[in-house]
């Protein structure tokens, strides 16, 4: 079985490597890096906008383009974090903590090299995770019934809400449940009744995922970037790129640990690269012998953050491919793109589309290689992107958001939806609500709705099987524990206990 998988994988590597698709790999990764480098353009927005461009492409080429853009964007954001002290994408926030102080010390070249190798190593570790875990998870998920899928949707919202809202799980959960409620608008699948539509024809079709996504991540970013103060790149010398790139490989413990953490955070529904970077960074800091360097320009911390966020990319593809549940916001767009292109991700993927699965693994591999090569060779030319003023860029970005939202179905209504969710996303972010759980809610809404009603119909309204079936019970317990451990009194109590134990140890 494993040999069979390896053969499929090597076949897919050769198929991309020895065809014109390799050119696609390079231009799409470069496009992704450029998108990621521009402050305010997130990986989600990049993947969403490029999805529009892939409509006429062949299935595999379209997904290849999107994966390359996704990986490139997460990597590209690191450049901005290092040189401007603002993350190009939210996933690079942890990188700014170490990268910017390094750039100010005149070690920008070194920092960019470390970020490049870290991102490459993270993608490779994540790719191995994808190749090993996804087939196993898909087989395991074959036993899932509507009860388990219901709990999986609840689990996704509760965990994503808790992790993305930092210290304020309540706001994360509100965002998640709001997203679920948004998904209820339009015709439901059992009785074909149009909910919350009030006879408005456009509402009967519900809100399209891509217009909502482009609005919440793209249009919102235009508002946020224009609201913030302008930034300027630090003029750092770009030297020692290759030497620093090679030296990063020697920190095997850091990148392996961060790679594992990043992959795991990617797998968790809706959490993705941001948390992959933060948790990897925190773990590296805890384990480091040179803790005092953190915050002052630690190459080890930068390596951990960049490895963690890029490892989360293949990690986020695991639930997309095996459960049709996105591991991150860009992965949600990728899932929508796969469906648009006639692919059917889900537990049956290893049975019905095993070739496609291994192609995706090979795509991650080639995108990572292209990122490494482009990142190291184009260190200087890529810096020019950071000189573009936001005033000259944001208008065009908004036009692209508009066209992206419109092009999917050719409806002006989708443009209004995009702007509406742009304003909602802006208000939410300003008031401290994370946007990612809302998007996850929009994706998971139909799954939750259909599986809840199907399960209740099967049991004639008896809710007991929701907590007595083994896998259901396990997921339900996890949901319960996440809620309990997020409650402020419980957290305060745990913090007190931790302090007491730490004091006792001394």
């Amino acid at each position: 079985m494993a040999m069979d998988g390896l053969n499929h994988f090597l076949g897919a590597i050769a198929e991309i490597g020895f065809s014109a698709q390799i050119i696609v790999v390079f231009w799409a990764t470069l496009l992704g890096i450029t998108v990621g480098m521009i402050p305010g353009l997130t990986a989600t927005l990049g993947v969403a906008l490029v999805t529009t461009l892939t409509f006429t492409m062949e299935q595999n080429t379209a997904i290849l383009v999107l994966i390359c853009v996704y990986i490139g964007a997460i990597y590209g954001g690191g450049r901005t974090a290092i040189l401007l002290n603002i993350p190009g994408t939210p996933a690079n926030a942890a990188s700014a903590l170490e990268g910017f102080p390094l750039a100010r010390k005149g070690r920008a070249g070194e920092a960019m090299a470390v970020a490049t190798t870290g991102s490459f190593l993270g993608s490779v570790v994540g790719m191995v995770g994808l190749a090993l875990v996804a087939p196993w998870l898909a087989e395991f998920a074959l036993d899932f019934t509507s009860f388990e899928f219901f709990w999986l949707a609840v689990f996704g919202i509760v965990l994503c809400g808790q992790l993305t809202a930092m210290d304020d799980a309540l706001k994360g959960w509100i965002a998640g449940f709001f997203g679920l409620l948004v998904a209820m608008v339009g015709q439901e699948s059992i009785h074909a009744y149009a909910r919350f539509s009030y006879g408005i024809r456009d509402l009967e079709g519900g809100f399209g995922l891509l217009p909502v996504l482009v609005g919440a991540f793209g249009c919102t970013e235009v508002f946020i970037v224009m609201r913030q103060e302008a930034t300027r790149a630090v003029a750092g010398k770009v030297t020692g790129v290759f030497r620093s790139a090679l030296s990063s490989f020697s920190h095997a413990r850091t990148w392996l640990r961060s790679g594992f953490i990043g992959t795991f955070m990617g797998v968790v529904p809706g959490v993705g690269e941001d948390m992959g970077a933060w948790v990897s960074y925190a773990a590296a800091k805890r384990a480091s012998k040179r803790k005092e360097e953190y915050g002052q320009g630690s190459t080890e911390g930068l390596l951990a953050a960049e490895t963690g966020n890029n490892a989360a990319v293949p990690g986020a593809l695991i639930p997309v491919l095996t459960l049709a549940i996105p591991g991150s916001a860009p992965a949600a767009v990728l899932l929508a793109a796969m469906i648009i292109h006639g692919l059917r991700p889900g537990p049956l993927i290893m049975i019905t589309q095993a070739d496609f699965f291994y192609s995706v693994v090979a795509m991650v591999f080639w995108a990572s290689c292209a990122m490494l090569i482009l990142g190291l060779l184009l260190t200087r030319p890529l810096l020019l992107i950071l000189k573009v003023r936001r005033e000259w860029l944001m208008g065009i970005i908004f036009v692209l958001c508009t066209v992206g939202a419109f092009a999917i179905a050719g409806r002006i209504f989708d443009v209004w939806v995009m702007i509406g969710f742009g304003l909602i996303g802006f208000l939410m972010r300003e008031a401290g609500f994370p946007v990612a759980p809302m998007i996850l809610g929009v994706v998971l809404g139909p799954i939750l709705d259909n599986n809840l009603r199907r399960s209740l119909a099967l049991t004639q309204g008896d809710p007991i099987p929701f907590v007595t079936r083994p896998i259901s019970a396990l997921i339900a317990t996890l949901v319960f524990l996440i809620i309990i451990f997020s409650l402020p009194p419980v957290r305060r109590r745990l913090a007190t206990l931790r302090t007491r134990f730490a004091g006792g140890e001394r």
Partner: protein, 168 residues
Amino acid sequence: MRTINRTDFLSGLVVAALGAAGLVEALRMPRFEARGADPFTVPGLTPGLLSAVLCVLGIVLLLRGMSGRNLTEGAQPSITQWTRASAIRTLFTIVMVLVYGTLLFGRMPFFYATALFVFVFTVGAELIDTERRLPAWKLLIGGCLLAGGAAYAIDFVFTDLFLVRLPG
């Protein structure tokens, strides 16, 4: 003395009201009894449950806001922190976005609507920037070139290369 956390209080109020409205609407949804539909598959079931949860969460946030408990520094919302320049830029962006999305796009040929929007947005954003160094004539010429170039390029890429039909 504790003061109300206004952001949390108002957010909680909006969320609770939204949840309550959703719940009322869900209860009003048909149950298809005449068709002999299974009562556990009625359309209002899931929206009703979700709205109820949202309402409860909103009330909790509202109460937390009233208690005036402050969050940690990193989680402080930025909605209450505005400078004059930042407020002007945001207002300008929102107005421009609404004008393009609701008035220009779809009512005018795409090329003209986009060129007009990009020109006004770029020049307007530069003019309200107090730290602008570019002289006005350079700004106007640059804005014209950017607007024409961007509108043509986007039109060409989407219409001719990717066969997307744009309005107008």
